[in-house]
Symmetry: C2
DNA sequence: TAAATTCCTGACTCATAAGTCATTAATTTT
DNA sequence: AAAATTAATGACTTATGAGTCAGGAATTTA
């Protein structure tokens, strides 16, 4: 069927030795702002300063490249958070603030901040990857925060609340800020100042937690 | 160049008259759980019980179909919310609860709940659509909530806070719950009960708002 | 400096899915 | 019931981009 091989002889210049780290960085940039499907490997290669073929010397497929990007991304940040919790002495409100602001410095402000959006967008299409991400990043993040809240309740510093729910409520505005920056930010005329936003969030949530808060009996809604 | 037209004569059966609403519903389903790029028009057509060609009788292109799906989706829900705010008498905490729970009933629990994820995922790739969605849904939603918070502050029911930030902090856990359900929900062993989650959120946030809360002077962080 | 080795290149193949249109079924008009 | 009109069909065209690989550049070895 195929009548191949009078392959045109080429004259080209070899560019440089590829660095896997650079390939991953280029891929992260593009995946983050175009999504998985819309990212062309040609572009990733160009951005990394190599040819498409080279990419395939390092990664079996686009999907493997994607996995590698995700894998290398947030796990180290989570680990640093875990170490921070272990070594902390002092009030748990302080620890909570330290975690939140540190997270913003490391993740929010960096290119890594784009990963959550990417994962939310692709989770349904890559169930296996979603599970990986859930186990290695999300659930560890929750566990970390959950430990802080539990300890706070044990010590009487925080009111008694359902920890699983509370961790999500604490995290939501952080993740939300991240998603925002990587999606609608450009449409938004009155940009949010992350620092102020996060301080307000912490202030509100700590007030809510510190005060003796029992979930009120069913609200009066039609 | 092209040597066309010995087009094979076909024998086929006409299926039914297309209903635009059904086409939109089918498209919504698929867009929501596969994303824009990964959704094939062949599949949309099949789900709606028509052929691909029929789709093009009603929508100029895949992108136009997408826009139509979004347009028909959340704008009416926002409008109902606006009417609710106009007609309300009573405490603003009550109104806030009414809005949040009503929103969950209408949007969160329905197929519409998938749209926010979809929009976050595609915003960067469809700037024009993102702007449309921002103007027609997001900013109106914020304005709606903002009015409630402002009025609460005016009446002295709520503490004085930066409204723009506070609206986002109030909304974040709601949107977050939605995104979650349409992405990682399947990975999560301990499913979140939306009702409980939302009640805790409202309780925490209202505590935070009601108490005399001034953003504390810069925290003591390294 | 020639041969062997390493590793990169980009034209090419091929699968996929958006978008087209000649054709045909159903319906309405005359 | 024939003609005219309307509304669907799906095989076909075509653009795109993932993945391949024969061949060439740089480097190392002999």
């Amino acid at each position: 069927m195929t009548t191949p091989q009078p392959r045109q002889e080429g004259r080209w210049t070899r560019r440089k030795n590829a660095r896997p780290a650079e390939l991953l960085a280029a891929a992260l940039d593009l995946f983050v702002d175009r999504g998985f499907a819309a990212t062309r490997l040609d572009d990733v290669a160009r951005r990394a300063g190599v040819s498409k073929g080279t990419l395939y010397l390092y990664f079996e497929s686009k999907e493997e490249l994607f996995k590698a990007v995700i894998r290398g991304g947030l796990v180290p940040a989570i680990e640093r958070g875990e170490r921070m919790v272990e070594g902390h002495t002092g009030s748990l409100a302080e620890l909570l603030e330290k975690i939140i602001l540190g997270w913003w410095q490391e993740v929010g402000n960096s290119q890594l901040g784009g990963i959550p959006k990417l994962m939310f967008a692709e989770a349904k299409n890559f169930p296996e990857l979603a599970r990986f991400y859930y186990q290695e990043v999300i659930s560890r993040g929750y566990r970390l925060l959950g430990r802080v809240l539990d300890e706070g309740q044990r010590r009487g510093e925080f009111a008694l609340v359902e920890t699983d729910h509370a961790t999500r409520i604490v995290l939501a505005p952080l993740v939300f800020l991240l998603l925002w920056r990587h999606s609608f930010d450009v449409c938004d005329s009155r940009r949010i100042d992350p620092e102020t936003y996060l301080r307000l969030h912490m202030s509100l949530i700590l007030d809510g937690l510190r005060v003796r808060t029992m979930v009120p009996a069913a609200a009066h809604v039609g």
